[in-house]
């Protein structure tokens, strides 16, 4: 018997990293502040600093690889699209160059740079939070705060269903190809092949969920009593609480200073 594994459920499961082991709501608070700062300040330099700061946090919590894998591609795609579109289409006086019917102006470039970095900075907050927090931890905290367990079940179960149905769809696609349904070629062929793939997938999932509902009912899913949990979260320490309050106070002060000043 693996006693170490069994005993690990007796105490809070930690990952031995100061940022990852913060309470999920404390993390949410910090990351929300990081996302709001560029909205308030509206300067591209600040957005870039915040973006670099995300990478710093990701590195400090040893999640740099996962974070940059998602974020770099996303930032380049969304950022460049938003920037190019604004640079090309926003009218202005200070013309930089003319290509065909497009006139690129200084105003367009400035606005594009500011807006693209702002959106990329806000996106970064979401990506960082998803990388640094496990969904089940967040749901556990929410359940402790009074969210019904059916709601948290729905969310966790959907994340699992996406993975399961994704694998299933690949399987169905291969089998339909083997049966001779064309998934390549003309657009009409490809549209026609959509239904034999999605149809069995969806109908199978619906009849599965019927069985699941009965199985869960038999396991007292709707019992009115209080749930117990296999997983525990570390209690929020006094220092974590006080640092968080301090950060929030500084942030509120900063907002007030920006609005008044």
């Amino acid at each position: 018997m693996d006693y170490e594994f069994i005993n690990s459920f007796k105490k809070p499961q930690v990952q031995n990293n100061w940022f990852l082991d913060l309470n999920p709501l404390s993390k949410l608070n910090i990351i929300l502040i990081l996302a709001i700062i560029p909205i308030v300040v509206k300067r591209w330099e600040v957005s870039v600093v915040i973006i670099l700061f995300y990478f710093l946090i990701a590195a400090a919590s040893s999640r740099l690889k996962q974070f940059s894998k998602v974020y770099v591609r996303l930032a380049l795609l969304i950022g460049s699209l938003l920037f190019i579109m604004r640079a090309m289409f926003i009218p202005g006086e200070d013309v930089l160059m003319k290509i065909g019917f497009l006139t690129i102006t200084q105003e367009g470039v400035d606005h594009g740079l500011q807006f693209a970095t702002l959106v990329v900075a806000i996106c970064g907050a979401l990506v960082l939070y998803s990388v640094a927090t496990q969904a089940r931890d967040l749901m556990l905290v929410l359940e402790k705060k009074g969210v019904p367990h059916t709601a948290t079940y729905v969310i966790l179960s959907s994340l699992q269903s996406i993975i399961d149905l994704g694998n299933m769809s690949k399987l169905i696609m291969e089998s339909q190809k083997a049966r001779g349904i064309e998934t390549e070629g003309k657009v009409t062929n490809r549209i026609k092949s959509f239904f034999p793939i999605l149809g069995p997938l969806f109908l199978g999932a619906i009849s599965n969920s019927e069985e699941k509902a009965i199985a869960m009912d038999a396991r007292a899913f709707y019992a009115p009593g209080k749930n117990t949990h296999l997983r525990e979260l570390r209690p929020v320490s006094l220092s974590e609480k006080s640092v968080l309050i301090l950060i929030n106070l500084v942030f509120v002060g900063f907002i007030v200073w920006r609005v008044v000043g």
Binding site: L74, L81, M85, P148, T150, I162, G166, A205, A213
Partner: protein, 202 residues
């Protein structure tokens, strides 16, 4: 959520997953459509507006992890769910031609509310092909608002009518014994067919 139909709770995750997978299959087959609201509309039609709206909301929140701009368009998917529930109550999904006409309703939500969000948050120039079309329309002489509305209405109409046709056939293929357990199943069950079948058995 306490009073929700028991089967509904287990169908919401399926709806969310189908939204995802539908979009992915459309990408894999290189179709020029999104097809990413099939789950929302089907669950809305089967279980009512509120579960449909929940499917839409959770879908957009989960997509936002890989594409955060989708969080801004959460209202669209909520609207699709609510509208699907309402139309289903009226029996729209029982006839194909009514379902196709309903596509215009969904496209107006998609184009109208969608372009409003694009204008408010992205000044009308979203990151995507519709943003490109908006930009082109602006250079021809349309205002930002008109350009965004026209391009997004057009893109949504192209997407929602095939989506609804798929939803119609999926609803038609769900067995009666499953429909009978769902909140709006009684609207969708074709009574003539059921009675005809029972007469045949007798």
């Amino acid at each position: 959520m306490k009073k929700m139909n028991k089967l509904t709770i287990f169908l919401i995750p399926i709806g969310i997953a189908v939204n995802f997978i539908g979009g992915q299959i459309a990408l894999l087959l290189k179709l020029p459509l999104y097809l990413d609201s099939i789950g929302t509309i089907t669950v809305g039609a089967l279980c009512g507006g509120i579960p449909g709206a929940l499917v839409g909301a959770i879908t957009n929140v989960s997509i936002s992890v890989t594409n955060p701009t989708s969080l801004a368009y959460i209202w669209l998917n909520i609207g699709f769910g609510l509208l699907a529930g309402y139309l289903s109550k009226k029996g729209v999904f029982k006839k194909l031609w009514k379902t196709v006409i309903a596509g215009f309703g969904f496209a107006i939500i998609g184009g109208g509310v969608g372009s409003m969000i694009t204008i408010l948050l992205f000044d009308g120039l979203g990151a995507g092909t519709t943003g490109m079309i908006t930009g082109m329309l602006m250079t021809i002489g349309f205002s930002v608002q008109a350009g965004a509305f026209i391009s997004e209405l057009f893109a949504d109409l192209l997407d929602k009518i095939p989506t609804l046709i798929i939803v119609f056939f999926i609803l038609k293929s769900i067995p009666v014994r499953t429909l009978a357990k769902l909140p709006l199943g009684h609207v969708l069950i074709d009574m003539d067919k059921v009675q005809g079948a029972s007469r045949k058995v007798a």
